[in-house]
Amino acid sequence: MTKFLNFFVLLLLAFIVANFLYLFILPRIDWDFSKTKEAHSFKNQKLKVLVFGNSTAMDGVNTEMLSDKLGPAYNFSLGGASLKTNYIQLKNYLQQNEVPEKVLLFLSSAHTNYVSANDVNPIVNYYYGNTFHIKKLDDIPLFKFRWLFVENVKKLLSSKHRSAEVIKGQLNIKSIVPDQSFYKKNIDTCLGYNYSGSTGYEYLWKMAMLCKEKNIAVEIFEMPCWKEAQNNCADTTIENTVGNSTYHLLIRNFNNYRICNTLLDPQRDWLSKNHLNHYGSIKLTAALQQKLLNSPLGQK
């Protein structure tokens, strides 16, 4: 029995050590982890522009360019981040740093359930929750951060991934994967986005109201996607009534196929499905700057 128990306990111990090792390595090699660690440690920063969104914004919004024109900017976007995640990040930043001028929020409603998901990104949960508890099996680090394993294996396999760098929160990758998808048959009919029907809608407004409270201009955009997920929708205004006041928010649609057509090169500007690479991010950010400079005050 002792032999068996030794084997079993050693196996269990090795498994526990592997989990701690994984947790030790991740902040040193993983982009999402290292940037969340960096963003969480911000104290008394004087950033002018904060960018929020999921992986599409993390790859596609060039914060270095934004910084040149609009003042110091940082891209807080994270892979798989929900609006609730973005809200936690924003709230935490505002508690410890100076109030920025602008918050840019990037949605990607056409390709993920981003607006619908209400889960908090596990990395944000890990840093912003301040404590690390293993209450259930799902909390085991190897399980909780398991998608990052393959993401980091990509770096072993691809030199373009290895040479990628995180600059002011933006993941800058020069790898190219052409968009060979086709427009939907009904591309000219705008089916619209169902913002109010999504569970994340609550956090969209929470972010907007938090910005209003602090007098921060908020700008919301739909990120461009591959052709198969593009549409012909115009910009959308959503409204929300709190007490006797009704508030409006304009969501600018960069996923309109006419805009994408003039802005992006399907053969060169994509990194993977719906994710812009370095070249695409430069083009999108230039167009974005133009829009922002045309309405310097933004929505408050």
Binding site: M1, F7, F8, L11, F143, V150, S272
Partner: protein, 479 residues
């Protein structure tokens, strides 16, 4: 309780501790504990069907005793048929009633007669096909005088309900399991470590390979007519891996768990996709069921000891019945029929007994080119037949095959880079560890403690990183 559930992770260590530490090695208490644990294991799924299991156990226990006590052949026969008819009756009602009345009504409708038939609206009791077959083999063996009736009710009940094999086998024989339940069990570390290794390997096959493949398979089988030939071929091959890893994964967990408790179960799989012919495939796939049908159906029908025509009939019967055993659907019957058709040529020319050795490439690290070619051909045929097994209807299987045969264009299965990297990692591991087990069996590799540890550790890590933990049940639960 599902093996791939958190409840099992709590249940099994509790049983282990009580079994080896609290019962103090007392055989009677160990068996009582295992029986109670087995009933809990079953009742956790649906306690109402526990009564059916207990009834079936009581029936076979008493008819077994009655048969042994009777000197009169007529009475013996009466008790025997009473048990067989009631056992098969339950199986027929729960599993096949709706199929028969549905097919009957459909048949009548072909002649313009529309009838409304009364169907049963009840779920199939999990494991009914397995424990019914346990009971049947016991009763048949007593009737044939091969074994004595078991007098200890706890031991007999445990033979029928032993939790590792209760819901999806292996289908045990009284001659193999009952004697083990009657002798003092001694804890053997080597045995138990092998059990842990097997359990982890089984979990890997189930939650990593089978459940990942099910994502591809379910997507395509939802609407095969929308997909192109390439995607359909991928789905067909994915199902071959899904069903093998799902079922052999279950068997490995069952055999491993039982090893830890000091009880050996029958081998159920022996590298079936390395078979070089259909006959060999059936000696390696679901061995406990194939041998059950051989011993209790094929041989009583005359086996191959009758005329060629009757022998062919017998082969068809066991393949069709084996198909029907899997489920009340024409797709399973056709699946059995396809295997019969593929088997018959080798049966006629007498090559079906070729490749009877346990190991495909004894004392060699790799099979020969000819072996590899035969393995690939056999795998292709088996995969083709699985299309019927997985399809919801015969026409769906037909559409599936037609689209492949005519190279129809259609939707493609879109894989992200991350998916492809994940599949490469898990499949390389799957083949490497399969090789490890094979070489161990082939005595080309010695299972040192370090190797056992490294393999188990590596698999545990991959289960955590790539396992699908959405509480997917095992495919063979439905049979």
């Amino acid at each position: 309780v599902l093996f791939n559930s958190t409840v099992f992770l709590i249940f099994f260590p509790i049983v282990f501790i009580l079994y080896w530490f609290v019962t103090n090695g007392n055989l009677k208490w160990q068996n009582i504990l295992l029986l109670v644990a087995s009933y809990f294991f079953y009742a956790f799924w649906d306690w109402r069907f526990l009564f059916l299991l207990i009834f079936s156990t009581l029936l076979d226990y008493f008819t077994g005793l009655k048969m042994e006590q009777c000197d009169d052949e007529k009475k013996r026969r009466f008790w025997f048929w009473l048990s067989v008819i009631i056992n098969l009756g339950f199986l027929g009602i729960f599993k096949y009633y709706n199929f028969f009345v549905g097919s009957f009504a459909e048949g009548l409708s072909q002649f313009g007669m529309n009838v409304n038939v009364w169907t049963l609206k009840v779920i199939l009791p999990v494991g009914i096909s397995f424990y019914t077959f346990h009971g049947l083999s016991y009763v048949i063996d007593i009737y044939k005088g091969r074994i004595k009736a078991e007098r200890n009710f706890v031991d007999y009940s445990l033979f029928v309900s032993y939790f590792p094999l209760l819901v999806a086998g292996p289908i045990e024989r009284a001659t193999h399991l009952l004697p083990q339940l009657k002798v003092q069990r001694k804890f053997e570390a080597e045995h138990a470590i092998k059990g842990v290794e097997l359990m982890i390997w089984g979990f890997f096959k189930k939650v990593v390979i089978a459940d990942s493949m099910s994502l591809i398979v379910n997507k395509v089988y939802e609407d095969p007519s929308a997909f192109g030939a390439g995607s359909l071929v991928i789905a067909a091959v994915a199902f071959s891996f899904q069903i093998y890893c799902d079922f052999s994964g279950y068997s490995d967990i069952a055999i491993g768990a039982s090893k830890i408790l000091g009880i050996d179960l029958l081998q159920n799989f022996n590298g079936p996709y390395l078979s070089r012919s259909i006959a060999e495939f059936w000696r390696r796939w679901h061995i406990s069921l194939s041998s059950w049908f051989r011993d209790y159906l094929y041989i009583p029908l005359g086996g191959s000891k009758v005329s060629l025509l009757l022998s062919i009939r017998n082969v068809f019967i066991i393949f069709l019945v084996s198909g029907f055993w899997h489920g009340a659907n024409w797709t399973f019957i056709i699946w059995g029929g396809i295997h019969a058709v593929l088997f018959i040529p080798s049966f006629i020319i007498g090559s079906n007994r070729k490749y009877k050795e346990d190991i495909v490439h004894r004392n060699k690290f790799f099979p020969s080119i000819i072996d590899l070619f035969q393995i690939a051909v056999t795998f292709s045929f088996v995969t083709l037949a699985w299309i019927f097994f997985r399809a919801e209807t015969v026409s769906q299987a037909g559409t599936f095959l037609w689209r492949i045969a005519t190279n129809m264009p259609g939707k493609k299965l879109g894989f992200e880079n991350a998916d492809i990297i994940g599949y490469i990692i898990v499949f390389v591991t799957f083949f490497a560890i399969s090789g490890y087990w094979l070489y161990r069996k082939n005595h080309l590799l010695q299972p040192t403690r370090t190797k056992q540890f490294a393999v188990s550790f590596f698999l545990l890590i991959l289960i955590t990183l790539f396992g699908q933990f959405s509480k997917q049940s095992f495919i063979y639960f439905q049979f």
